[in-house]
Amino acid sequence: MLRYAIKRILLMIPVIIGVSFLIYFIMDLAPGDIVSVTHGETSLTEEQMEELRASYGLNQSVFVRYFNYMEGFVRGDLGTSFITGKPVLESFLQKLPATIKLAVASMFVSLLISIPLGIYSAVRHGSVQDNVAMVFALLGLSVPHFWLGLMLIIVFSLHLGWFPSGGSSSLGGIVLPAVTIGTGLTATLARTTRSSMLDVIRQDYLRTARAKGVSERTVIMKHALRNALIPIITIAGGQFAYTLGGSVVTETVFAWPGVGRLIVDAVNSRDTPMVTGCIIMKTILIGIIVLIVDLLYATIDPRIKAQYARGGKRK
């Protein structure tokens, strides 16, 4: 299993190189650069602007700059922000806890709703309740996050005054953004739980368990759910990784001081080292989470553990 994990980590290297090059290159394509963004309105002469560009290293070709950047990356240096002058890694790590906190809270909301909903739907397959639950799930999938966020602010913050409309200073501040992101995640997860449970629920060993007199509750919660967990964990793991990487808009709507907003601000100010560095860190983070999820399978399903032991090959 350790060999498998190491192999997976090594496979991340080409992806990181590719992603960093792609982002660095696209950022270079963008019209304007850091000098025109920060000094565009000032009365600097063309020569002074050129001098400033040279001080940022912008007079070199994009390939040379990228190579220099990656040379630093290998030594553990993600570059320095053009805007704040602070090391990128430091800024990233400073914003990361807020993003992780939001991701964990969103996953909590999602798991709390989706798994009971999915199980209930599967057990009552074809009933009115099942249909209502699935329409609800589909609605969750169809609502734009930023709009749901605004609606929650109108109802729960402006009218009822239960939660603050933004910021992370108080404990209640996390509720609305977590519900916003969680709703979207719930939709997919509830549908996965339902279909995975339906696969399991009619199998013979469950009938045997029932025949032995095991209570229906134990049959569903212990015998069925455990065997239905693999797809659920795959989706939930992917969602957690996605939330760490993609809650850009929700962070913007709720003024949540996370990594998503850091990147959007950096994109707007053409802060190439900040954008590239943050995305490299995100790629690594997402890769590690997906790997952990894969390794989690082994603890849940002994059959997969045996597969890893054979060198990760399928039968």
């Binding site: 590719g18 169809s142 734009p144 605004l150 279909s195």
Partner: protein
């Protein structure tokens, strides 16, 4: 009665009912069977109905409302009116009728969603088919590039691409199209892998058909189901992505009545005039829901085995 040769008149007469039944079955084309199954799915039919209405509104938007006078014309004297008989859904901060703008905005949302997914589908399907059919080095290269493209979350990639190319409707389509490539590559490759070793493909090779022809005319048509389903569902997420980018001022430039852009304006009045935010959001949600319902129904009717 005594004649038993298949196909003879008496055979038909003898087993009349059976033969007729099988003839009826043979006449039922695959598309017909899919349509019959789809028609039974109420959700899919509702979705299809909404999409047809939206498509109609988009195509004939110019006949329904006048763009210059009823959609973008500013009239401060009527600004921020609440929904009422004169303005069904009220007016926005510049006195423009929200209902008219929503009506015209359907054109932007639908066309951006459709075009973006078309871009993603054409590129993704081509590379996915190549990866699945040729295997080996081509597959390795395509799949690794695909890993790279899918490593960055879609909306973030969209933001970076649009801010690099500049906000415009075309760039919005391109950005969302590029971010939807990886899904298509993966799905097409997986289905091509299932088909490529079947005997009929072997016989295509044996009679000397070119590889491009085999892929385009013999393999891809047999991989269409998952691609069609994916396309429908991707249009739904593309519409959300487009409105999200417009909401961040990275989409269709003002004063065009794009739904996400309308939400962005409404956001400033969220405390005082929530109707500015409510209606465009509902419009996006209903449209996306329609595509999701149709996509779900298509998945069930294209592959009855998967039916739940």
């Amino acid at each position: 009665m005594t004649v038993t040769t298949p196909g003879s008149a008496s055979c038909v007469e003898q087993n009349g009912q059976k033969v007729l039944a099988s003839k009826k079955y043979a006449r039922q084309s695959q598309a017909g069977a899919i349509w019959r199954r789809l028609r039974k799915n109420k959700g899919a039919m509702v979705g299809l109905g909404i999409i047809i209405i939206l498509a109609f509104v988009s195509v004939f938007a110019d006949l329904l409302v006048d763009y210059e006078t009823e959609v973008v014309a500013i009239d401060i004297s009527r600004k921020l009116l609440l929904p009422g008989p004169e303005h069904l859904l009220g007016t926005d901060d510049l006195g423009r009728d929200i209902f008219n703008r929503l009506l015209y905005g359907a054109r932007f949302s639908l066309s951006v969603g459709l075009m973006a997914v078309l871009i993603g589908m054409v590129i993704g399907t081509t590379f996915g088919a190549i990866a699945g059919y040729f295997c080996g080095l081509a597959e390795d290269i395509i799949m690794r590039l695909n890993d790279i493209l899918s490593a960055v979350p879609g909306i973030l990639m969209g933001i970076i691409i649009v801010s690099a190319l500049g906000p415009s409707t075309l760039n919005l389509m391109l950005a969302i199209g590029i971010t939807s490539i990886p899904q298509f590559v993966r799905i097409t490759r997986a289905s091509v892998l299932m088909v490529r070793n079947q005997e009929y493909v072997e016989s295509c090779r044996a009679i000397g058909l070119s590889q491009a022809r085999i892929i385009a005319f013999h393999i891809l048509p047999n991989c269409l189901s998952p691609i069609i389903v994916q396309t429908t569902l991707r249009i739904a997420s593309a519409i959300i992505a487009a409105s999200t980018l417009s909401f961040l001022s990275l989409g269709v430039p003002a004063p065009a009545p794009e739904w996400g852009g309308m939400l962005s304006i409404g956001r400033q009045y969220v405390r005082t005039f929530p109707h500015l935010t409510l209606f465009p959001g509902l419009a996006i949600m209903i449209t996306v829901l329609a595509f999701n319902m149709l996509g779900d129904g298509l998945r069930d009717s294209l592959d009855p085995k998967l039916r739940r």
